[in-house]
């Protein structure tokens, strides 16, 4: 048996310290060690993007990252998205545009879309669709999600 690893990191702006099995994914670490269950497991093999988080400024599939890898890094999850004044504009737009049905993919879409708009506020529809290609949704058919992102840009 391998020993747990001690990790010090920053999650949603707050310092965090925890012990984790070295073979545990960041997704499992967030959900099962830190109780941050907003990040969802979809495929667990890097295809669906439901587990998307921001790691040192880049979106990644947290199922393809080890929890031990975030030592000294910064992670942003869906839990960090709404502020003290309420929902993030993207979250509000997803509600208003009905850009979700079952909701499993939604945290991943929101984290990805937020990262896009921070980098490229003027992204056109083609770019939005391309950027979000790593996030799969089996309910909405995507159009409502794209409209919600565009609503925030307007």
């Amino acid at each position: 048996m391998v020993d747990k690893i001690h990790v010090k990191t920053t999650i949603n702006g707050l310092p965090q310290e925890f012990l984790v099995d070295p073979f545990m994914s960041l997704l499992e670490t967030l959900r099962d060690v830190l109780n941050l269950t907003g990040t969802k497991e979809g495929c667990n093999d890097g295809n669906c993007g439901a587990c998307t988080v921001v790691l040192d400024g880049r979106i990644v599939d947290s199922c393809c990252v080890l929890g031990a890898e975030i030592e000294g890094k910064t992670v942003e999850t869906i839990e960090g998205m709404a502020g003290p004044d309420g929902l993030h504009p993207l979250q509000q737009a997803f509600l208003e545009e009905a850009a979700l049905q079952c909701g499993i993919c939604t945290p991943g879409f929101l984290v990805s879309a937020k990262a896009l708009l921070e980098r490229e506020p003027e992204a056109d529809e083609h770019r939005i669709r391309y950027w979000l290609a790593g996030n799969l949704c089996r309910c909405t058919g995507y159009d409502k999600i794209i409209k919600a992102v565009q609503k925030v840009q307007a």
Partner: protein
Amino acid sequence: MHPFDYVAATSVDQVNSVLAEHGKRARPLVGGTDLLVQLRGGRFELDVVVDIKGVPEANVLDLNGSLKMGSAVSCATVYENEAISAAFPGLMDAAELIGGIQIQSRASMAGNLCNSTPSGDTIGPMIVHGGQVNIVSSSGSRTVAVEDFCTGPGRNVLEDGEWVLDITFPAPSSSFGAAYERFIPRNEMDIAVAGAASSLTLDGSGNISEAKVSLAAVGPTPVTVGAIGDLLEGKTPTAENFEAAGKIAYDAVSPISDMRGTIEQRRHLSGVLTRRTLAKAAERAKAG
């Protein structure tokens, strides 16, 4: 899943020593987009994964005419570099279309190479850009051409204890062009049914002085078709000549039928994508 340990290495020597100690039971980790999925799926067992992203030499991205790309450099880091994208267009094409943004943020071209699947999008472009792989271990180092690296599906020349530190590409001349395209049923986020990487160099009178084509997902390893270079050298970059090159590609590949496509479809795609990528490479070569 078999429990494995995790080592965040900070030096080449540290990676060498972990791999020397554990042999087949240890592997380097970069993006994890293949390795962690394979471990979880029980494809093989490891006792240790060695994270090489903290090794400075594996993070080198040095454009100085030639390009030295460390094995931990992510695809996104490559295509966000405008100078490298302009000088190495074949690498840029592949880095921008592999996986989605999440995968591109983590995965490296060296990782794609070491995974050695015939469909690896970045391998053909690295071949036609003349990539040389710097393989290191506790007993020294050796250089292998990207073209000679893969030996079968998921298999390559790496021996126990060896890993890839970086890949170097020669400086392209001003009349060099390259391109990569693949066919997938979606627009993004899929594995190539077939892919083609082409490069060519034009001489002072606009004739082709060198041409290389490497095809993906149509054989047990990337299929580099030397006969196309022989055909095109000395010829003009015309649609007719590229059509003839496509016919050679059609005959040169040895694809299988599987859930992604049939043998005939893959042969057909090999011809079409060869023609298209040669034409795009020629346009880029003319544009300098």
